[in-house]
Symmetry: C2
Subunit: 303 residues, 2 copies
């Protein structure tokens, strides 16, 4: 297999074969619910884990049933194991009293507390579990909708509308000019952290249009050539598709959008190298390797 | 400006500056609602047009008000003209009785009945108009939601949820092997038409993952290297983002997914050239230039 930038992003190395053709086949799905089946259990939007090193995110169907989880989302198959996901109604402190852990996925991914294929499976699961939890009603008529197709659709019994899991495409871009690139910080970032600009791709625009619009809106920089580099599924808050690009800046006078961006400036390649190695003299640092911004920065520095 | 494949796709050459910073500014939006403002009016999901050559999709606010359209979606600004969109409650036959035309956007785009920048603006408008029409309720609690932010958000007065226009990323891929490429027809296609394989990118996968999964699901072909080529906003049924890729096939024994694909086979470059020029000896033809499948095929043949 040749090298592929997207395959190196966080949440990307998902081992599951989704077997989408089985989703509508209740008999086949029931047959897969055997003793070898694995379940990813969520309390709200956080994974539930068994203690150990690494932590264990894989429950049996019996264990998941004990936690009151219906495990009704079919994620796919990994060899002999069918994999399901579901939410537990048991409160976080009761789960902890049973010796289980409840840790948000972002922390798990950054800390490497579970293997990266499990992080990817948890990302897929979180996208679906959170979509169901936040979209229980039909957006067309308001009636409660029902989970169907192994968790990959919600149908409305009142008006017949079908609703599919939502995936929002986001453009994330390393804007560069000569030997420098534009990094910025949002108010929510940890102190010292800077990252690439990013924003939702809107109806009616191409990926490249969105890169140019967002870069101008957020930093007053016009961009010329835009090049796709890699993509990444991003399950926070639930279902984004990060589309990572490089963009050539046409001007260098940054004018920040004050509400969204707290600080932003041009950083040299040498500074970026220092940030990637955790030794920037002013204490700036970049997102962790699980984030596609890190990959964009790393590949630009090394190019 | 350098050449960019995405800029040559249909629905892509949108002249509007979206001025997203104005969406929440009711005073600014009201000030833009002047005599120079232009309105794109929709009957259901079809554009309303004034007769002429080319057909005229641009109404004044006064004309749009006469048709009962509130024109409450702010699309952006084109020079001195602010541009809005809205739906009319007037029935299609009454619009026709007033001398207006009601034509679906796909036909308008294929026939070149309006200039391509207007096609792009109509695409943006259709995505938003149709999203509002099909999502009037809060998916979280079921209550009727309200349009806000110049048409770029719906807020729920009951539970406080905010809902944003939906854009579904779709992978569309020209799968090639040596001097041949895989084209297929869905049952809904016009007789003789073949196109690239395509499918929705799901939660938890990269663009490249989706290309490989869909190609295997639909045609039994495993793919190696996947390369992004261009993207296209696609407003049918309302808000898709087509992400066009080339993919190298690793086997050639096609096994079609019978429910979704009616016919599919390898076509030589010479055959593809003939299809693009409308002279395939067996009468096969490819999608029109407005579709990104045409661009993928053309650029592969010419490469």
């Amino acid at each position: 297999m040749h090298w592929e930038a997207s395959a190196t992003t966080g949440y990307a190395d998902n081992p599951l074969d989704r077997r989408a053709e089985l989703r509508g086949d209740a008999v086949a799905i029931t047959a897969l619910r055997d003793a070898a089946a694995q379940v990813l259990v969520f309390a709200g939007d956080k994974p539930v884990l068994k203690p150990g090193t690494p932590l264990d995110a894989l429950f049996t169907l019996a264990e998941s049933a004990e936690l009151g989880s219906s495990a009704d989302i079919f994620l796919g198959v990994d060899g002999a194991h069918a994999c399901f996901a579901g939410a537990t109604p048991v409160a976080e402190h009761d789960l902890k009293a049973r010796g289980l852990l409840v840790i948000d996925l972002r922390s798990l991914a950054i800390q490497g507390a579970v293997p990266s294929p499990i992080v990817a499976m948890l990302g897929q699961a979180k996208s679906l579990v959170t979509w169901h939890a936040t979209h229980p009603h039909c957006a067309r008529c308001g009636a409660p909708s029902q989970i169907t197709q192994g968790g990959w659709r919600r149908d409305c019994p009142a008006c017949g509308a079908q609703h599919f899991p939502r995936t929002d495409p986001v453009a994330i871009m390393l804007v560069h000019r000569g030997d420098t690139c534009l990094l910025a910080r949002k108010p929510m970032f940890a102190k010292g952290m800077v990252s690439c600009l990013a924003g939702f791709i809107e109806p009616g625009e191409t990926i490249e249009d969105a890169v140019r619009r967002e870069t101008f809106e957020e930093a007053g920089i016009r961009t010329g050539r835009v090049t796709y580099h890699a993509s990444q599924p991003w399950p926070l808050p639930f279902g984004q598709l990060m589309i990572g690009c490089f963009a050539e800046a046409l001007n260098d006078d940054i004018r920040l959008e004050a509400e969204e961006i707290e600080e932003g400036r041009w950083f040299t390649k040498e500074e970026c190298r220092a940030m990637l190695e955790g030794r920037h003299p002013e204490g700036y640092f970049c997102p962790p390797t699980v984030a596609i911004a890190n990959l964009l920065l790393r590949d630009w520095v090394e190019a």
